[in-house]
């Protein structure tokens, strides 16, 4: 076993990883897409959004203040006066209700990204999940609550997985690009749902024949509201399911063999194949898992606060597409995705008609502000190379000024 080729001196003992110093760790975080870049991006997006507000003739500071109040996040701070706390609590419940599906829809995109796939089908998978959840939840009226909920969620998860898996299967067998197929599957899902719940559709409400809406989820199959008034859309326990899914996401991706396979395929499919990984099968599994996350999101919304699906809701919903921004900003990591889902959840809630003070900024316009910020975030986060270059130039410029003496190569 031993050979004569032992090196004369072993290289200096190196600590685990290159990041033994603070700056080293920082540099590593930057290289691996750590938290700095997304934070800079968000800051930049907010500044740009502020300029847009300014252009409309409003005061950006009071607008952001109003949006901040609308998010209810100040409830978290102990110095908030108790007079404001009640309203803040209600607002925060709304923020977290929106955050719940965004976390899962972010994972639906992020997991695919890690396997080198671009899942634009979150919206469709979310719709399939919602449809199945509302169907199960509004049927089987005599069923006890807990198994009923589990069954509805399971149906949504499986339905979403099938919907995502189709795209993976097409990619694996025919090479059809998942970007195209998932977009098409979105439309198929949306129009099937519109047909099902539309006037005269097979699942249209049996009590309101004039309205294109589903039956209501029965009381027993609704998720428990643990904070706030159930009558006024309090916070349901779906947030905990989403957080549990975050742990699952992390474990799957970083600690499971399937996650290892997905990452290997995402980074170098040829090396993965050489290593014995079944690349096509991995595509199917990854897309199915993404669909399962999105389907779960659909079921939590339906069972948690919507309780019914109207056809026009299906057509205007954008949540699945927000999942792309959530994943991008969250750098396709578990923690990052949760945090960026919270950001977008807060933005969407803070600028909503219900929560924003119309005296400060018209909520109809404010919702567009969210879209502006989302757009800038996506634009910037996908051009991180550009940002890095800017950053480096700024750094070099600064150092170049400092190192004035000739001959110094400190720059």
């Amino acid at each position: 076993m031993s050979t004569a080729a032992t090196p004369p001196t072993p290289p200096a003992a190196q600590p685990e990883g290159a990041g033994s110093t603070v700056s080293g760790r920082l540099a590593e975080a930057m290289r691996d897409g750590g938290p700095i870049l997304p934070l800079v991006t968000v800051l930049f997006a907010f500044i740009m959004g502020g300029l847009v507000v300014l252009a409309t003739g409003h005061d950006p500071f009071s607008t952001y203040k109003a949006i901040w109040d609308g998010t209810g996040l100040k409830w978290l701070f102990p110095w908030t006066p108790s007079a404001d706390r009640e309203l803040a609590a209600a607002n925060l419940q709304q923020t977290l209700i929106t955050t719940t599906p965004l976390i899962l829809l972010g994972f639906a995109v992020a997991y695919a990204f890690r396997a080198g796939l671009f899942n634009i089908g979150g919206q469709g998978q979310y719709t399939v999940g919602g449809v199945l959840a509302v169907w199960v939840g509004s049927s089987f009226e005599s069923m006890p609550g807990f198994p009923h909920i589990v069954l509805a969620i399971l149906a949504a998860v499986v339905g979403g997985a099938v919907w995502g898996g189709i795209a993976g299967l097409l990619r694996a067998t025919t090479g059809a690009n998942e970007v195209i197929t998932t977009i098409m599957l979105n439309w198929i899902a949306i129009w099937i749902a519109v047909y099902l719940f539309g006037l005269g559709g097979p699942l249209q409400s049996s009590t309101q024949p004039d309205i294109p809406v589903s039956n209501d989820v029965v009381e027993a199959a609704r998720l428990h509201v643990f904070w706030g008034d159930p009558e006024l859309q309090g916070l349901h326990i779906g947030i905990f399911i989403a957080l549990a899914a975050s742990v699952l996401f992390w474990v799957l991706l970083n600690r499971s063999t399937k996650g290892y396979e997905a990452r290997a395929v995402g980074l170098n499919p040829e090396a993965a194949r050489y290593g014995g990984i079944r690349v096509g099968w991995t595509y199917v599994l990854v897309m199915a898992l993404c669909g399962a996350f999105a389907g779960l999101a659909g079921s939590l919304d339906v069972l948690g606060w919507q309780f019914r699906i109207a056809t026009n809701d299906i057509q205007i919903s954008q949540l699945g597409f927000f999942g792309i921004a959530v994943a991008l900003l969250g750098r396709n990591t578990a923690v990052g995705t949760v945090l960026s889902a919270l950001l977008f959840g807060a933005l969407l809630t803070g600028t909503s008609v219900r929560n924003l003070d119309p005296a400060v900024f018209e909520p109809e316009m404010a919702q567009n502000l969210t879209f502006v910020i989302q757009g800038i975030v996506v634009l910037l986060i996908t051009t991180d190379v550009l940002l890095m270059q800017l950053w480096r130039r700024i750094k070099r410029g600064r150092r170049g000024d400092a190192a004035g003496e000739p001959g110094a190569v400190a720059a």
Partner: protein, 518 residues
């Protein structure tokens, strides 16, 4: 030992001088107090093992990296080189291993890229062609200005790179392992070109880890070892042994000794194998061969004669048209890669970037690529075991430049190759296919891999070696099969002469070799 203290040269004589350059990447020190002096009108080889810090040093010179300490002097004047643009302004040009050319554009268009001649706000194509022709004439580097870069040979592309650097006014030319991608013929041409440029007054830095080239082309050589300057000396009077010693830091056996083999039972059996290539043309045309336990069989041949396709077919990476492959008696024909590996195949892939490694993965993750599933429980990886195992293999295979958690992308090529070799051997295969196992490695690493392969042979593994280097084939193989045009055209022994092998490899027959009728 042909070393001598470098003559202290006057500042005016020096085209480029580096003093005390130090560069660290995190905890890894790539260069440590490196001194380097390039005289005017000389070809100066920068020699060192993989990962010795040669490329880093020259990236600093070219403004691609900023040193943590030290200074750069061009023509005796201290300068700051913050970007390639500034480097060019100081008359420094660099030709990289991987060319920075746009394949769909013509030679002339590529040459002027970044400094395009204009006429009325439009690109002056005629001017670009003229400039290319003039430069080509002036320096004696023949290129066709109108040819598309994607259509010309690698050697030609390299000329375009050199011409482009000269066009930007380079008086100092840095070439990073320029011969790594060239054929023997192209290498000879390049060397002639470099000599002409030197005689015309250009100062040239020639980065390499090949000893023969240093002696052939360079006037002086500076040896780097583990990021430090070891010595600088004239190549006149030096020989390969002394260079190798300076580079590796100990005596290196350029050709390992081996005991005669004691082959046992057949382990890899290929029977009348037929395989088609990517264009559906027959690439392997009825090959039969047997490798027994405890022997190394080399498949020698000129690149593109079906060797790679045989390996791919055996490994389950390419469909088999007809024929049979058996590993230790088990028929693995047409099985998928995982099943073939499980049957006992180890496979050192020919191309470590494309296939052998997932570059952004850590060393530990890459080492687990073939058996991550074996140590898993409930579908979960065992990170602690992966790291422990990686630490052991890093020590055993002398992988330098990082720890178990370091991404393979930040290792030098030679150390990346060691990771591949380590993984495939550690998998305890019955059959080991070693395809170009020492491609891009320096002498020290080559010796290491060669010794290791022989040790594995003596432990009873059956090894099929694919190599384009005749020296390697001869020093390792117990039997040599020559492949030509998808067929085995002869079998010979390691003491066959170059002529004999060369004749077989180009399709001629040889009296000394036993021809195998196919």
């Amino acid at each position: 030992m042909a070393s001598e203290t470098p003559r202290t040269a006057g500042a005016a004589e020096l085209a480029l001088e580096l003093r005390g350059i130090t560069k660290r990447f995190g905890a890894v020190t790539a260069n440590e107090g490196v001194d380097f002096q390039l005289r005017r009108g000389e070809i100066h080889a920068l020699l060192g093992e993989n990962g010795a810090g040669k490329s880093t040093l020259m990236n600093i010179v070219y403004g691609m990296a900023t040193p943590d300490e030290g200074e750069i002097l061009v023509g005796g004047t201290p300068v700051s080189v913050g970007s390639p643009r500034e480097a060019m302004a100081h008359g420094i040009g660099m030709v990289f291993q991987h060319f920075m050319l746009i394949p769909v554009m013509t030679v002339a268009e590529n040459l002027v890229l970044g400094d395009e001649p204009r006429k009325g706000g439009m690109l002056d194509l005629a001017g670009a062609r003229r400039r290319t022709a003039e430069l080509s004439e002036q320096h004696g580097l023949a290129v066709n200005p109108d040819a598309k870069v994607g259509d010309v040979t690698v050697g030609q592309q390299q000329r375009v790179e050199i011409l482009r650097a000269l066009d930007r006014g380079a008086k100092i030319l840095v070439l990073d392992e320029p011969t790594a991608v060239l054929t023997a013929q192209e290498t000879a041409e390049l060397i002639a070109v470099l000599r002409r440029l030197r005689d015309g007054g250009t100062s040239i830095v020639f980065i390499t880890h090949k000893l023969g080239e240093v002696l052939e082309v360079a006037d002086r050589v500076t040896v780097l070892r583990r990021g430090k300057t070891i010595e600088t000396f004239d190549t006149a009077g030096a020989d390969e042994v002394s260079l190798a010693r300076a580079m590796v830091g100990r005596d290196v056996v350029l050709r390992v000794d081996k005991a005669p083999s004691t082959p046992a039972e057949p382990v890899l059996e290929i029977e009348d194998l037929r395989v088609v290539d990517d264009r559906d043309l027959p690439a392997v045309d009825g090959v039969s061969l047997t490798v027994r336990a405890g022997e190394i069989v080399a498949l020698a041949g000129i690149d593109g004669n079906g060797q790679s396709e045989i390996v791919d077919a055996v490994a389950g990476l390419r469909p088999v048209t007809s024929g049979h492959v058996r590993i230790a008696g088990q028929d693995v024909t047409g099985r998928d890669p995982r099943e073939v590996r499980d049957a006992g195949l180890g496979h050192i892939a020919e191309d470590r970037h494309r296939r052998g490694l997932v570059l952004p993965f850590s060393i530990a993750e890459n080492l687990a690529l073939r058996d991550y599933h074996a140590s898993s429980r409930f579908g979960l990886l065992n990170p602690k075991r992966m790291l422990d195992r990686a630490r052991g293999l890093i020590g055993e295979f002398d992988v330098r430049g990082g720890s178990a958690a370091t991404p393979c992308s930040s290792l030098s090529g030679g150390n990346q190759q060691k990771v591949v070799v380590a993984r495939e051997i550690a998998g305890d295969p019955k059959v080991l296919i070693a395809a170009q196992p020492t491609r891009g490695l320096d002498v020290g690493a080559i010796e290491f891999v060669h010794r290791r392969l022989l040790a594995e042979r003596d432990k009873g593994r059956a090894i099929l070696l694919l190599s384009l280097e005749l020296d390697e084939v001869r020093s390792l193989a117990d039997r040599i099969l020559v492949i030509y045009n998808g067929r085995i055209v002869g079998e010979t022994t390691p003491d066959a002469s170059d002529e004999e092998l060369g004749l077989l490899m180009t399709g001629g027959s040889s009296a000394g070799a036993t021809g195998i009728a196919s």
